[in-house]
């Protein structure tokens, strides 16, 4: 269990028992047009062996957050404030050298598109073996053996033969398996999976997700699972963080958030998702409008230009006052909790079926 679910606990989680603890993270990029607030005051925790799902539209800051955890943001154009504590080590102030030791070792990342995430110029084997040699000091031979073992583990047939293949010689699903093998080769304590299955066929997707779950059990890693696909999240995550315009707007356990979502944005996400067994004539309800510009985000609640309940709140609060996100199970909305429940039960749930 993550601390997120401990609604009864003290408001400010210390992160002492969390493996990764992010506190009030702010990431800003300076661009030619101005300052982009990609992440704006984000906090979350992940425990060992658990999976945190982060959902949100593109540009909501979910990928930036995780790149920042690994220190892969461009230090020249971006500023990072807040805390990122991994296993007791503060990362925002860590040296590049220390970060290099962490990456691929203690923290590994799986990327969305395995075709572009592998270099086309080197063999899969070499690319997987590289971090192992670097972090463990293993010889080429040892690294090769370990790589083949990992390839086998992630379900690549004839791994010894495929070791010398180039990425383009692998199928999409195999590449993603290889990517997972690469991420896991050093037994990472934290695995960040950034939309790891988005580029794959649905059937392959399911295999990969199962594989990840199996491996998590075996290796006991914590996982941060980034996606925009709520269906995948329900399958994978323990806890859920919904992000909008660089901020967390709702969090709770997967069950809580998906069964009884409290934020109008989460409602929108759920309503815009087709479901098996749903009425074929039933219309999907996409969220009106488009994601806000992070260069010049709306005042107050960033969701207010797209929110249907601004008038319900009334008094112009939504556009003037930013609703806070309480600790634990919470949603950042000016609607009173009771009213949210009513609206969800009366208006939203019927649509979700």
């Amino acid at each position: 269990m993550t601390t997120l679910t401990k609604t009864e606990d003290t408001p400010s989680p210390t992160g002492s028992d969390a493996f990764l603890s992010v506190r009030d993270l702010r990431v800003r990029f300076s661009t030619e047009d101005g300052i982009v607030k990609a992440v704006d005051g984000l906090s979350f925790d992940v425990e060992r062996g658990k999976t945190l799902g982060i959902v949100g539209e593109s540009g909501s800051g979910k990928s930036v957050t995780n790149l920042t955890v690994l220190g892969l943001h461009n230090p020249k154009t971006s500023t990072v404030e807040g805390e990122i504590v991994l296993d007791g080590q503060e990362l925002t102030t860590a040296s590049e050298k220390d970060m290099e030791k962490l990456r691929g070792n203690k923290v590994a990342m799986i990327f969305q598109d395995p075709l572009t995430a592998f270099s086309p110029y080197y063999t899969i084997g070499r690319q997987i073996a590289e971090p192992y040699m670097k972090h463990t000091g293993a010889s080429k031979k040892e690294a090769k053996a370990r790589t083949i073992e990992m390839l086998d583990r992630v379900g690549i047939p004839q791994p010894a033969m495929r070791f010398n293949d180039y990425p383009h010689q692998y199928s999409g699903g195999m590449r993603q398996r290889a990517m997972i093998a690469m991420a896991l080769i050093c037994d990472p304590d934290l695995l960040i999976a950034d939309e790891p299955t988005t580029a794959l066929d649905v059937t392959v997707q399911a295999q990969i997700l199962d594989l990840l779950k199996d491996l998590q059990q075996e290796f006991g890693s914590a996982i941060v699972f980034i996606t925009h696909d709520l269906g995948v999240i329900s399958h994978m995550a323990d806890d859920l963080l919904v992000m909008y315009a660089g901020r967390a707007v709702e969090r709770g356990s997967v069950r809580e958030v998906l069964r009884a979502p409290q934020h109008p944005y989460t409602w929108g996400l759920l309503s815009s998702m087709p479901r098996l067994g749903g009425d074929i004539n039933e219309e999907l309800m996409p969220i009106p409008g488009s994601p806000p510009s992070l260069l010049n985000p709306p005042t107050g609640c960033a969701f207010n230009p797209r929110c249907t309940y601004v008038d319900t709140v009334g008094g112009g609060r939504c556009s003037s006052e930013r609703p806070p996100l309480a600790d634990g199970r919470a949603a950042a909305c000016h609607l009173p909790v009771d009213q949210r429940q009513d609206i969800f039960i009366d208006q939203i749930k019927p649509r979700l079926g």
């Binding site: 270099s119 086309p120 110029y121 670097k134 972090h135």
Partner: protein, 325 residues
């Protein structure tokens, strides 16, 4: 691979044949009598007839063409001696065998091109990589700015200035001169230093900008990010991952530049009073010297085709996705 080479070489031969035919018959569409042209002060009709006969211009055009083409494969016999294959004929103007003339000039053109290429590649790629590595810093801006300025220069502009400064004014260096590399490597290098430097100055900018921008592009590739994410050092990622990806566009540009350097060597050669293929090409076309024009054209085409094949082989070597078949 072998199949690829055979196919490409066959294509090259056919293209050369077409170029040869095109040049040959184009020559005859221009109503100029080379015999009359090459005839000196004593240009009597009798002398013109003798010249026509000597040059074989009295034979039907198709026969002349056939003899020329056969000569390439089998060699030919001329009054001035036998011309072994690949015989590109005998220059109307100088009476030299075209192949000999080309082989005589080629070392210079090659030295000029390769020497210049090595220098500007080295400098251009080094400064481009430096700028990419130090992207956004003062170093980057200085390098990028300088390359903008340099790229606006032309050989015929910069060449005389450098000559004026280093040779005419101060006498620090002699005028560029070609020595055989095999005879005296030092004299070879010293003699060509000024043209190399001038060529390098002009071309270096292009390579600086290009290597900088492709490196920056490559550094934004996802696989580069992956490599960083798995803990590989910045330098390692820069030189192994990003650089490897930059090679393909760079090789493409080098291939194109080599062709244009060889073809455009004429400006360099005239600027520095050197005798290379470019000069030969200009002389041959000015004097309507058919065999020489044909020879230079076909040799140039051959060289460029070979160069293209080499570039393709390089692609295959650099990028495993490229398969030669």
């Amino acid at each position: 691979m072998l199949q690829f080479l055979i196919r490409r070489l066959t294509g090259a031969v056919m293209i050369m044949f077409l170029i040869g035919a095109f040049t040959f018959f184009l020559f005859y569409t221009v109503p100029q009598d080379f015999a009359a042209l090459s005839c000196g002060k004593n240009c009597t009709p009798e002398n013109i007839a003798v010249i026509r006969e000597n040059l074989g211009l009295d034979k039907p055009i198709t026969t002349q063409f056939w003899e020329f083409m056969v000569g390439i494969v089998a060699g030919r016999d001329f009054a001035a001696g036998s011309c072994p294959a690949p015989c590109l004929g005998q220059s109307f103007a100088s009476g030299e065998f075209v192949w000999d003339s080309i082989m005589d000039r080629f070392p210079l053109t090659l030295s000029l091109t390769i020497g210049g290429l090595v220098i500007f590649l080295f400098l251009g790629l080094a400064s481009g990589l430096l700028a990419a590595w130090k992207r956004g810093t003062a170093v980057d801006k200085t390098v990028s700015g300088a390359s903008m300025v340099l790229s606006s220069f032309q050989i015929y502009f910069l060449g005389p200035i450098v000559l004026g400064l280093l040779v005419y004014q101060t006498g620090w260096m002699e005028n560029p001169k070609y020595h055989e590399f095999t005879e005296d490597p030092l004299a070879w290098a010293v003699g060509l230093l000024i043209p190399w430097a001038v060529m390098a100055t002009i071309f270096v900018a292009q390579y600086t900008r290009m290597s900088r921008s492709t490196m920056i592009e490559q550094l934004q590739e996802e696989h580069v990010r992956t490599a960083r994410a798995k803990g590989m050092g910045r330098k390692y990622v820069f030189f192994r991952y990003a650089w490897r990806g930059s090679l393909t566009p760079i090789v493409t540009i080098i291939g194109m530049d080599l062709s244009s350097l060889l073809a455009g060597g004429v400006v360099t050669e005239f600027t520095f009073d050197l005798a290379g293929i470019g000069r030969l090409a200009v002389e041959s076309s000015v004097t309507k010297d058919l065999p020489l024009t044909m020879g230079v054209m076909m040799f140039g085409a051959f060289f460029i085709l070979i160069l293209n094949i080499i570039v393709d082989l390089c692609y295959a070597y650099i990028d495993p996705r490229v398969r030669l078949a």
